[in-house]
Symmetry: D2
């Protein structure tokens, strides 16, 4: 069985295992106050050209989202996101469990437009009974989105402008950020993201690390007392250096972007093969996730050799599946998959 | 100005004022442990033919919804409701503030069907990743709905059957319950509601009281320690007897239903007049709220003499407004309104 | 049975009943936006000589404390109070239910000293692991305290100075504020309280109203969006005018302070009688609550004619009880009680 | 500098690093559903002789405590613990942030006695106003305690009996459980702990793992839907197999207990040396943490060569410090320390 159902099937990039092994008997203070965390923070600040940013390392994405949103919002505020946003659908209500309503907006491709955010904001403030309604307090986007789509520089710029005009902090969930930066269509950089967002995270779990997310806070007003919230939310790793070591590795010699390019190139091969075969892709993803629309027979054939995620049933008896590549995907397996798409589907 | 924008414009039915005055210097223990609360509870149990039910008196609707839902759900559960449900749109995220996601289902008329609830339940339990998704934990309906529509006995029976099959407690928000019971189309009774719901409240604020809602818990498993939750949520009135006295009055000589009939009869006059004039009603309400669809000119004319709520803008430059009658509405005002509809719109 | 166990045994001062009756059929908009609430707010601002203050009316004390503390604190912060503070012991964990730890400090008399607050603050900030500990975020005091004791002007001035130095908002729970202002030892005024506290409430429930507390926010930074929080916490009364009318009455012709003087004078008669009889008072209260220390035989005798609260068992088989007077206490009953103390105990 | 300030200074036991490396390129499903987690669960069930127990793997202790307590309690309930309990003092109010009051009881040594728990329970239920007070809903103990002390079998048996009589689930925080099992005074076994507690966790972070805690639920009524709560609280590791692999290693060939014996033997050498030197130990700890009471001069001398934690200032100008050994402590360093205690202090 060749497994392609997610991008967190293996452990970590071998260099990370190597560094964890080398440093294993070092003695360091706990909770992220060690020298590896400091180095990694500096490397990230440097990559983002954001020398004033605060960098924190957390273990996972749901946790990071919960800590950030809890820290930013006042109790009567909610967070605007696309209806497909991870916080709205796949975190068991973690945001609501911390007291905040998620304010989902309709979205075809998983992205939020500046126009949609403005309409939501205006609807709130034009309501005479607005005190009876949750107040929009921040904006959450994911990049790439849960559907593999990406924001252009122009789109992110517009969103950022609007958010600053409306005093809504803009938060970018970068669980798969490297795959977005490696997309052939990409015109964004870490530097632009750091300039346009108030707070964002660079995902490690899905891009080469055993686990871990690097949170970058660029907005000065969001920095205060953040470590208290990390601890309170159960997100402060005792041996914090494990996170530091992993991100030191990922941000040395551009490993972070190199391994993403590997994954995206393979995903583009898969995409092209489906397209040439006349099989539709449900979202136009230029990143490591691909979403072909298959019929039952095609799914049966594919399932003999490959594992994948069931994404969504369509009305006409077709089904959207998800195939993921990652830093760890063997190119030989992808060649075999492409052959099978061409010959067996 | 003749005010028709809501059903809580005046104080209380004169008999309630009279009884509050008469009993004013009585000395009673606090927090709902007095003899008036006991009497009122007995009267309500009797009206519901539910001798085993627990009855609690709370001050307002948002508060009652918050206490009930907080008490019933475990942390990972959410509450299913129609997308127009009061808890979803007009309580400033009170349910989320207590940790729970509201799970809104699409609804044209403000009602939930058994089929829609079953589909939501099945979708959850058929998902392999369901632990990443909020679990449906109870069902909230309002009767009459926020749109003035009402459940038939058959519809409520189906919903109740399903909820028991799926072990989802069924909660009915009866902020305007009396107006539903007084509707010409009504085939429900308090007894049926008590039999079919696990927990429900009989609204006082909008139906003759200064304030107050009577919560009835029929399901034995939902009764335990409920008063702790009332206190914790800031919903336990020190001079609880004020609630007891008001509900004693409302449940003596059927005052509760009589004053609702007064309101509904007047609302039916308004409805009929709009219909005869060829003006559409956005919802088919047989209760004390009416929702005519007007153009700008009609609204301007009406606003010279009457106050009403702005409900919703429609795409074609029309607007839905809300007119309410209540126990306190002067029939002469309604006659004048009907005349003006006929002659001026 | 002459009831003296609390100060919320009766309904409301007759003038309040009168005004509620007179205004009963007035039509007003809801949720505290009516003219009575505006008038009452102006009267309170005037009494406090705080023309810029925001005034909000809520239904009860637990609710008011919960809304205020929830609004002021960030998630990682707690509220400092005396260990006997109402929020620490008698609100079913309402503060914790909204996410915040109560930080209780030892206190003999129910008061907090500036020195104790400073020590608590310093202990936090001198701890290297402070991010693992709840951060002090505000200070809660009650005046009079739950034990009937009161702050002097000098004590409140010191506390206020310190709180401003440390950027800790100072919140005063004035559930029985009128009885404090009427105490023979009192050297505080509403004006001083408004100047020294950032936020405080003037209790109605225990001092002549059917229910209701008037919250005064003097600190500009605490005002923003406060009504959203009132609504979310289920504390916004639909017929808000009921609160406005009651506080209009209490703040006209100094009724608020007159009725408190009545109660305190009677309490002082009781206190003096116990003292003359050689019966100890557990706290030195100059307000409407008195706490004599009695033996079992004395309690038995008293219980034949009077109801009172059991407050605390002492090691030597003695018991502290609480006797309360109020605006409604009949002087004849107090004369009889004093006679019985002298002759029967 | 020889570091002894905590027991989480290094990475992981070399066998764990070895197994993580070996398995690195295995492909497994996520979120703890892999074969390593299954194996580790079986090994733990076996070690506990609890074939019916549910085992879950979480990342850290604060997180585990928060998930467990959130899952067990209803909203109006609190958790009884010793005043020194980790949840009360060192988790930034994580329990309160999830809505629950911590109910701390005085304790000299960090342990809870059955008598103290009963007194707390009885005080609650004998109070007429108990609905105004947080209800005790479960009992939290740590073993070893934060002070290094341990429960005897008899003490745990008594506590367990009482908790079952009172229907209070008993939860044991075993962050350092292995060090307790390895204590010379120990008469408990994993089997007894599994039989006497309703839910407990076996710490990995401080006992040889990179991170991770194994939660064991023996009480059937506490098992339902637990994974939803893990996810919601941000405690579900995407690559769950990392936890499985680590606990497989720890529970093979008794590694878990062997590495603890190493640490405790060294700690006993330190303890004995202090005692022989006439230096008091603040707590009588037979586990890997030791708490000598030193004067300023002694601290200065020790600090030249060793790092340690500052624990507590005593009134007489003395200070309690904490020294920890661990699975990783070099015996040669302890020999040097003992020499220095004898010769330099």
């Amino acid at each position: 069985m060749i497994r392609l159902e997610s991008d967190y099937l293996e452990g970590a990039h071998p260099l990370i295992i190597e560094h964890l092994t080398e440093t294993n008997m070092e003695q360091t203070p706990g909770y992220g106050t060690d020298v590896h965390c400091q180095n990694a923070s500096n490397l990230i600040r440097s990559a983002c050209r954001a020398p004033e940013a605060d960098v924190h390392f957390l273990v996972g994405g749901t946790q990071t989202n919960a800590v950030v949103i809890t820290s930013v919002l006042r109790p009567h505020q909610g967070v605007i996101c696309a209806e497909t946003g991870h916080i709205n659908v796949h975190e068991t209500g973690a945001i609501e469990a911390r007291g905040h309503k998620v304010l989902p907006l309709p979205s075809q491709d998983g992205k939020l437009s500046a126009a949609a955010v403005r309409a939501c904001y205006d609807a709130h403030y034009s309501d005479n009974d607005r005190e009876h309604i949750v107040q929009p307090g921040m904006v959450y986007i994911s990049h790439p989105t849960e559907n593999g789509t990406t924001y252009t520089a122009k789109e992110l710029e517009e969103l950022s402008c609007l958010c600053r005009e409306l005093s809504l902090p803009l938060y970018l969930d970068g669980a798969r950020l490297s795959y977005g930066l490696a997309a052939p269509v990409n015109d964004l950089s870490l530097e632009m993201i750091a300039r346009l967002c108030d707070i964002f995270y660079i995902g490690g779990t899905k891009t080469g690390a055993l686990f871990g997310e690097a949170l970058v806070i660029t907005s000065p007003s969001l920095k205060k007392d953040f470590r208290y919230l990390i601890k309170q939310q159960g997100a402060m790793l005792a041996k914090g250096r494990l996170l530091g070591i992993q991100f030191e590795t990922l941000f040395t010699d551009e490993l972070y972007i190199q391994i993403a390019r590997h994954a995206v190139n393979l995903a583009m091969d898969i995409k092209k093969t489906f397209q040439e075969k006349g099989i539709a892709l449900y979202y136009d993803s230029c990143t490591n996730q691909q979403f072909p629309v298959l019929n039952k027979q095609q799914i049966k054939v594919l399932a003999e050799t490959y594992s994948f995620s069931h994404w969504k049933d369509l009305p006409d008896d077709k089904t959207v599946i998800r195939l993921c590549t990652s830093w760890a995907t063997d190119p030989e397996y992808v060649r075999q998959l492409c052959r099978d798409i061409r010959e067996k589907l």
